[in-house]
């Protein structure tokens, strides 16, 4: 088990700055997920930790030892790649044993460890096969087996599930989480999928444009986003953003409707963006109160999913999605009063920062 410390990390490709000063500590045994849109630098960050990319400035330390100039093999880390990266000319057994043999492990130990890893992943029956005879999910298991078989200090996963179909992805996701509980190794996982990030992580590191936008436990990022970007990135369907004006303790929408200001807005005023998650909008049954707002909205589109029904509304010129109970029987074109749980809304200033964020 190992701890990872990154300080002031910069990475340039020519004049293009891919990482713009990353400071990050991943404590022992933690499952840390790097998430962000494509091009945010999450894969580059992972590859510099692995030693596959050189660091331009800053330090990477594993257990307090700076590894900037160590070759990948000397860092003793294990990595699972997006495309599995299995050696097609070797059997499944030899693929898993590859790292052990590269480190000259005795034959008896190779056999024992490969056997254990295969057992853990349920691929014992596949050990004699060739990679091309395996399905995508089986290949991914072998790739994971190749990582867990070694006594590596860090586990790195680079979008390991993005080539699998949706159903398989859910299963493997659960399995990776279970595996982490069993092995307890410090793990860093890169994904662009916010659901994967939310479900797997002890800590989410949300990257944007080469910088860490926010990091913390999943629910903290979800409920207390520091910026509009974080709020918009996490959550599906996406958070609704409405242009508003804050004045005298009230929020005025573009079409003239008003809402009570949340507690965090005390003392602020001016043009803002109001963020409301779809699940915090519901059909209004009573009058507006001090913490409950009421909005008059026009139904645009109804999308039942079985468990919940996503309903799109038009408030002035703005599209707003609400997550309503499955049996909402409203038709497009109808008007519906919506109530807003103001305590769970977030106001963002013009530069995208959340009001009241610490």
């Amino acid at each position: 088990m190992s701890r990872l410390d990154i300080q002031g990390l910069h990475k340039f490709y020519g004049s293009m700055e891919a990482l713009k000063g990353i400071d990050l500590t991943v404590p022992e045994g933690e499952f840390c997920v790097f998430v962000g849109p494509s091009g945010c630098g999450k894969s580059t960050l992972l590859r510099t930790i692995a030693g596959l990319e050189e660091v331009t400035r800053g330090t990477i330390a594993i257990d307090g030892e700076v590894v900037n100039h160590q070759r990948p093999r000397d860092r003793n880390i294990a990595m699972v790649f997006q495309n599995y990266a299995l050696y097609p000319y070797l059997s499944v057994f030899e693929n898993i044993a590859f790292g052990l043999r590269a480190r000259k492990a005795p034959e008896a130990e190779v056999k024992r460890r490969v056997g254990e890893a295969a057992e853990m992943l349920g691929i014992t029956a596949l050990l004699g096969r060739q990679p091309r005879q395996l399905s995508g999910g089986q290949r991914q298991r072998v790739a994971i087996g190749r990582a867990v078989v070694r006594d590596a200090r860090l586990f790195l996963f680079d979008e390991p599930l993005s080539n699998l179909d949706a159903q398989l992805r859910d299963g493997m996701r659960a399995e990776i989480k279970r595996l982490h509980h069993e092995i307890g190794k410090t793990t860093i996982y890169v994904t662009h999928d916010q659901i994967e990030a939310m479900t797997l992580a002890d800590r989410i590191v949300l990257l944007r444009d080469g910088r860490i936008e926010q990091q913390g436990p999943p629910l903290e990022l979800f409920e207390q986003p520091k910026t509009q970007f974080v709020a918009g990135f996490l959550g599906s369907p996406q958070m609704n953003f409405l242009p508003v004006t804050l004045e005298g303790g009230a929020i005025r929408l573009a079409d003239g409707q008003t809402l009570p200001a949340p507690p965090a807005a005390t003392g602020a005023s001016g043009p803002m963006t109001l963020g409301i998650r779809p699940e915090h909008l519901s059909r209004s049954t009573g009058e507006a109160g001090p913490t409950t707002g009421r909005l008059d909205a026009l139904i645009d589109l109804v999308q039942p999913t079985g468990t919940r029904t996503y309903t799109q509304f038009r408030i002035g010129d703005v599209e707003v999605t609400a997550e309503l109970p499955a049996h909402t029987v409203e038709r497009p074109g109808a008007r519906l009063p919506l109530s807003v749980d103001m305590a769970r809304t977030t106001l963002f200033t013009a530069d995208g920062r959340a009001l009241g964020a610490r």
């Binding site: 692995a50 030693g51 596959l52 070759r71 990948p72 093999r73 880390i77 294990a78 990595m79 790649f81 997006q82 495309n83 599995y84 990266a85 299995l86 050696y87 097609p88 000319y89 590859f98 790292g99 590269a102 480190r103 060739q130 990679p131 091309r132 005879q133 995508g136 190749r146 070694r150 080539n163």
Partner: protein
Amino acid sequence: MRLHPERGLGLSLRLVLALAVLVFFLFPIYWLAIIAFKTPEEIFAYPPVWVPENIQFANFLVLFKDGDAETVFNSLFIAGVSTVFAMLLGTMCAYSIARYRTGGNLFSDWIISNRMIPPIVIVFPVFLLFVTLGLVDTYTGLILLYTAFNLPYVIWMMKGYVQDVPLELEEAALVDGLNRWQVFVKVVLPMVRGGLFATAVFTFVFAWNEFIFALILTRNEVTTFPVQVTHYFGGQSNFWAKIAAMSMLGTVPIFIVVAFLQRYLVRGISLGAVKG
């Protein structure tokens, strides 16, 4: 399964055409082979003897008795060793160019352009050079020359094969604990095995067939078989029996090499490496 009548007709037509093409291309080889086994009377008989009554090996025996057959072994040795050298050096160069962009973007274009020089242009300078270095009529001389000739081709071909190896495989191996050399030997070489053999066949055949340098740079110590064959074309008469027998001796090794390696001439070895 019953064939549709029209499709059956189309199939027969295609088979007949294929057979005609096959006969057209194979007959000269058959004729060459059959001459090698004929007696002198049969060779010059008119009407021609299509199928000799007795197969006899006298034409071959005389080649071995006179030592002419040694030229086949000279060719084998020179072509074999120069192929090994060119493949070893060329594949390492190709890896360096493909993965480290050695020499910049145009380096490999420049390398392959060397192959475009017509050999006749440099025959005389090379001859003078070899005289100075004492390499005329030596194995070393021809091996060095053929290695140099084949290198651009090997580098060009192998660069393409190396570039097709998924980079992730090499990175996985680096993380797994190999250094660059081990990655080259344990990951890259197995991945490009098909390309290696295909390229080696062409390299070997080039060295095997090469005539003009072999003619000018050898006397009688390391004469190669294509040069030896020309000795049988005389001003007064042509020794058809020897020409045919010698040509057979020269064809068989190539035939064996290609038959042995032909499964590698088909690509597709990297199937299953990544998603797919």
